[in-house]
């Protein structure tokens, strides 16, 4: 088939696909209209357990079992990536590479190091805020956890990789990942023990709008946040060690 024929065929297919897409989009209902029956039901179900953020109420209360699956997927993915990356290097090699890198890093631009160092504190606070208010405002464990992990990356951007080795000892990162996952599973079992159903909301609901409200939802948010922060930090550090190993 000659290039010209191929191009004509490709263009014709694209035009047909574009037409179909436009037809499909034109037939969609307007944004937010009509309200589906589930929208109203979800808001009512969340408020019954004193959760203001309906999305948080759905992910951690109504459909908490789905979130348990997602959490374990991330847990397995982080462990798999770590196992694969660690198999490729000998013990102690990473530490030596990290030290060499720190010496080279002394020449990093001062503005970059300053900006990275200045942002670490605010980003940590933002992460903790997003994590703790998951049942009140948009946000929650997943988003807050990744923001917390980003704070550690900023430490690296500031050139303090040796300091990074000190603030994120790999053991602690691994333990926090495992502890987050275990806490979520325990909360699921807790529902079974105290309320007769897995993932049931068995803690006192409190008053909607308060920091301590929504029963198990804020607890699950914190569990997910710790797990996500640990998993992302673990993956990033393993990649980082890999990248540094080659810098000799």
């Amino acid at each position: 088939m000659s290039p010209a024929v191929r191009r004509a065929l490709g263009l014709a297919a694209l035009v047909a696909l574009g037409g179909l897409c436009a037809w499909a989009v034109a037939g969609l209902p307007d944004f937010g209209h009509p309200r589906g029956p589930y929208a109203t039901a979800a808001v009512r179900a969340s408020l019954r357990h004193q959760v203001n953020a309906t999305v948080g109420g759905v992910t951690f209360d109504v459909r908490g079992i789905d979130t348990l699956g997602e959490e374990l997927i991330l847990f397995c993915a982080a462990i798999g990536a770590t196992l694969l990356l660690r198999a490729q290097r000998a013990e102690g090699q990473a530490q030596a590479a990290v030290e060499r890198h720190e010496e080279a890093r002394e020449q990093a631009p001062g503005s970059l190091r300053g900006l990275g160092a200045a942002l670490v504190g605010p980003v940590l606070v933002l992460g903790a805020y997003v994590l703790a208010h998951g049942h009140l405002t948009p946000g929650g464990g997943f988003q807050g956890g990744i923001i917390l992990a980003a704070a550690l990356v900023l430490v690296y951007a500031a050139g303090q990789i040796v300091a990074l080795e000190r603030v994120r000892p790999v053991d602690l990162v691994e333990v926090s990942e495992a502890a987050g996952a275990a806490a979520y599973v325990l909360m699921a079992v807790g529902g079974l023990v105290f309320a007769g159903a897995t993932m049931a909301n068995f803690l006192p609901y409190g008053q909607a709008g308060m920091l301590l409200s929504g029963g198990t939802v804020p607890v699950l948010n914190v569990a997910v946040g710790v797990e996500v922060a640990g998993a992302i930090t673990l993956i990033v550090t393993e990649f980082l060690d890999q990248a540094l190993l080659r810098r000799a």
């Binding site: 946000g139 988003q143 990744i146 990649f239 990248a243 080659r246």
Partner: protein, 82 residues
């Protein structure tokens, strides 16, 4: 559909096209970050702030970071081969 939605959609279309047209991987990652940010704005405009937050953290923190580290590793491998 409001004017705000149209602007957000246009931003997604422009940055998405730019991402495809950028050929150098490191530069493409930066452009892809802006694409993700535009998607987050679109989600926010459409009334999904939770999805917007996830989009921001994944597309501007997690994804570029891991891709950049992988690229750095490949660059080292090539240096050693030379």
């Amino acid at each position: 559909m409001t004017a705000l939605t149209l602007v957000a959609l246009a931003g997604v279309a422009v940055t998405g096209t730019l991402t495809v047209l950028t050929r150098k991987p490191p530069r493409q990652l930066v452009v892809a970050g802006f694409f993700g940010l535009n998607l987050a704005i679109l989600f926010f405009v459409l009334g999904a702030p939770d999805v917007a937050l996830s989009q921001i953290v994944v597309s501007t923190v997690a994804l570029p970071l891991m891709a950049l580290l992988t690229l750095a590793r490949f660059a080292r491998d090539e240096e050693e081969d030379e």
